[in-house]
């Protein structure tokens, strides 16, 4: 059984090829980028995994030997793979997704009117061992009031908080930076409705502070659900979760601006109001998890898309209004023509 050691090409286990209708992509889960490849190379890398170039030349014809070698050399020089004589030592990554949090992420919306009792909400989220929270303010909130609210995070198990704030003309950029420095759990702040130039961040400053400023006014939850390469999340937790679960709604809980508990604020189903319903009672209702296991592989068009394991989904706004398996409304990509529709996502209307 002793076989001579042959040199074969292998992708690193965290560089995973995904096939689309017309082309494929290598998802680099360590570096967080992707690399487009033709479908023929996908086939070579998967169906003929760990074959020698000589063997592949027998399959595809010896005239293609140089091209196959060039494919491998390019993938190697781009840092996606390596040559080895012992591929058996390099197993694939197990794609089982396991998290100790019953809810991994939560959204709470504020729109004037009711001011949620965040102390109570945070302690309820702690029961789930929830790690990430997004707070979205469509109306003005004073930074003082916000800072008081964020002090409730101090002993919580949440590790990251993301903020969407309406710009207050009385605030300077230092005020926002101070807020972020004061509360270590804040990972990023999006400031909307900023018409004035009073809040000019230099470009590199933005990246360092994790603060982004936009002119557009975000008035309600309907701004959400846009799909674009800039929202791709190329990492192992996301990629593995997407194998069996929905990449937006799985283990998510939300409280909308009226206090209604939903899977996401944009979803039609409400599971009670936070006034009189505990979050744990809400998620116990059978249909709360209705969308959790809708993978991209089950969604029309997305199932043929090469980006399906790195892109976030949206089940709230679909192309077909009564089809829960329809492609996200605000996705402009067509995996058959390989074209991105440049229309602003929020101007697209469902059929």
């Amino acid at each position: 059984m002793l076989k001579t050691k042959e040199i074969v090409f292998k992708l690193y286990a965290n560089c995973i090829p995904v096939r689309g209708a017309k082309r494929s992509v290598v998802c680099d889960l360590q570096r967080g980028d992707y690399y487009l490849i033709p479908n023929i190379l996908f086939e070579i890398l998967t169906d003929y995994k760990e074959s020698t170039v000589d063997y592949l030349a027998d399959i595809y014809g010896s005239q293609h030997k140089i091209d196959i070698q060039a494919y491998f050399d390019t993938l190697q020089s781009e840092g996606y793979g390596f040559y080895t004589d012992s591929p058996e030592n390099f197993p694939d990554i197990d794609m089982k997704w396991q998290k100790s949090s019953l809810i991994t992420n939560a959204i709470v919306d504020f729109n004037g009117g009711i001011f949620h009792n965040m102390k109570d909400i945070i302690s309820q989220l702690d029961e789930f061992n929830c790690k990430a929270l997004q707070l979205r303010f469509y109306n003005l909130i004073s930074l003082n009031k916000l800072s008081n609210l964020l002090t409730h995070l101090k002993d919580s198990r949440l590790t990251s908080v993301s903020l969407v704030l309406r710009h207050d003309n009385n605030q300077t950029k230092d005020d926002y930076i101070d807020l972020k420095n004061q509360h270590q759990r804040i990972t990023d702040i999006l400031i909307h409705s900023c018409e004035t130039s009073s809040l000019i961040f230099k470009k590199d400053e933005l990246a360092v502070e994790g603060i982004a400023v936009i002119k557009r006014t975000i008035t309600d939850h309907e701004h959400c659900g846009a799909i674009s390469p800039k929202y791709f999340r190329i990492n192992l937790p996301m990629f593995s979760e997407s194998q069996k679960h929905n990449t937006c709604l799985h283990r998510k809980i939300s409280i909308d601006s009226k206090g209604d508990i939903r899977n996401c604020p944009s979803m039609p189903e409400s599971f009670g109001n936070i006034r009189d319903t505990k979050l744990r009672e809400a998620i116990r209702q059978k249909s709360f998890k209705k969308y959790w296991d809708i993978t991209k592989d089950k969604i029309t068009v997305c199932s043929d898309c090469e980006f399906r394991h790195i892109c976030t989904d949206c089940r709230a706004y679909g192309r077909e209004e009564n089809d829960i398996y329809s492609k996200p409304l605000k996705c402009g990509y067509d995996p058959y023509s390989l074209q991105w529709d440049r229309k602003k996502p929020n101007t697209i209307k469902p059929r």
Binding site: Q76, G79, F90, P91, D94, S100, S101
Partner: protein, 335 residues
């Protein structure tokens, strides 16, 4: 810390850890909560600050954050780490700096003695990493590894230039030095010096005799391997810190722009068996083992870290070791 405690339960996991920068402990605790396990966490610093305790000949009382810890309830102990206190600043007063240093040294020794007494009362429990085995004599471990059939780098501990010269000649001038004992950080201003593995040129040595020094043959590597051993199971990861030998000539410079690849690895069965016998010989049921895959295809054993951060292996390879540790502690606790 959130003590999770029931009075009439006789199952209790004790976690011995340290304050701050301990993501691994926190992740295991998240899983213990997920499985509704009972546990209590004591950080080494608690013995100095927060806890009230009395350790008798047969029993002890520890009260931490209003909770009494009863030794009879504890079945499983996870020794993760113990203290992060810097004793040189522990007691500060005006006066002679040598006196201050002497007193602080003494206080540190007394604290360590108290800690050992505490551990000693727990010695009949199940330990994931027995604290008494957790201090490694690296030189000894190399000898034991070699006796278990593992290749180890040829090693010399010496204090003179002639010895290095002879050793260097044996290894074609390719030698390195690294600490004989634990790596220590020397803080300076806002950064620190680390005595790291360094290549040695015999010609550059200016002294005939010096402080004890460890020299090893330099081993050209294909990649490094970090293997996490837990009760006979081994989870390995390859680190491409050096590009593959076959491509090194062409792509070396290019590849340094990218972070090293961290990918799952499966050691040959024979090497896994050697590691298992070595761990048995030392009496460790858990630890991280560093190896090198040399360019001549040999696996070279470097060292064992009994309390290494296994998150660095678990996360990139999706091994979920934090969950496995939690399940194992629960299993041993219920026995």
């Amino acid at each position: 810390m959130r003590p999770n405690f029931h009075h009439y339960n006789t199952e209790m996991i004790l976690i011995l850890s340290q304050n701050g920068l301990e993501p691994t402990t926190n992740e295991v605790i998240d899983w213990l909560d997920y499985f509704n396990a009972n546990y209590i966490r004591i950080n080494g610093d608690d013995i100095l600050q927060n806890a009230r305790y009395s350790i008798g000949m047969e029993n002890m009382i520890i009260r931490l954050e209003g909770v009494d810890i009863h030794i009879d309830e504890i079945n499983a102990v996870w020794f993760r780490r113990w203290t992060s206190t810097n004793f040189s600043e522990y007691l500060d007063f005006e006066g002679d700096s040598r006196l201050k240093q002497g007193i602080n040294e003494y206080l540190k020794t007394e604290y360590q003695g108290a800690s050992r007494a505490f551990f000693s009362l727990l010695q009949n429990k199940f330990w994931l990493t027995d604290v008494r085995k957790s201090r490694m004599e690296k030189y000894n471990v190399l000898k034991l590894a070699s006796s278990c059939g593992l290749y180890v780098p040829d090693t010399l501990i010496c204090n003179n230039k002639d010895a290095i010269k002879n050793f260097s000649a044996l290894h074609n001038g390719k030698i390195i030095t690294k600490p004989i004992s634990e790596v220590t950080l020397f803080p300076i201003d806002n950064s620190s010096f680390v005595p790291y593995t360094t290549q040695i040129e015999v010609g550059e040595i200016n002294y005939e005799r010096f402080h004890p020094l460890q020299i090893q043959e330099a081993i050209e590597k294909q990649y490094e391997i970090r293997a996490f051993f837990i009760l006979g199971n081994i989870y390995s990861m390859a680190i491409f810190s050096q590009d593959d030998e076959k491509t090194k000539q062409d792509f070396r410079c290019y590849n340094t722009e990218f972070p090293n690849r961290h990918v799952p690895y499966k050691l040959p069965r024979e090497i896994e068996q050697n590691i298992t016998s070595l761990m048995g010989l030392i009496g460790l049921n858990c630890g991280s083992i560093d190896l090198i895959k040399a360019t001549d295809d040999r696996y070279i054993f470097l060292e064992i870290n009994p309390v290494g951060q296994f998150g660095m292996t678990s996360h990139p390879c999706n091994y979920n070791l934090e969950k496995e540790v939690a399940e194992l502690l629960i299993h041993e606790d219920k026995r």
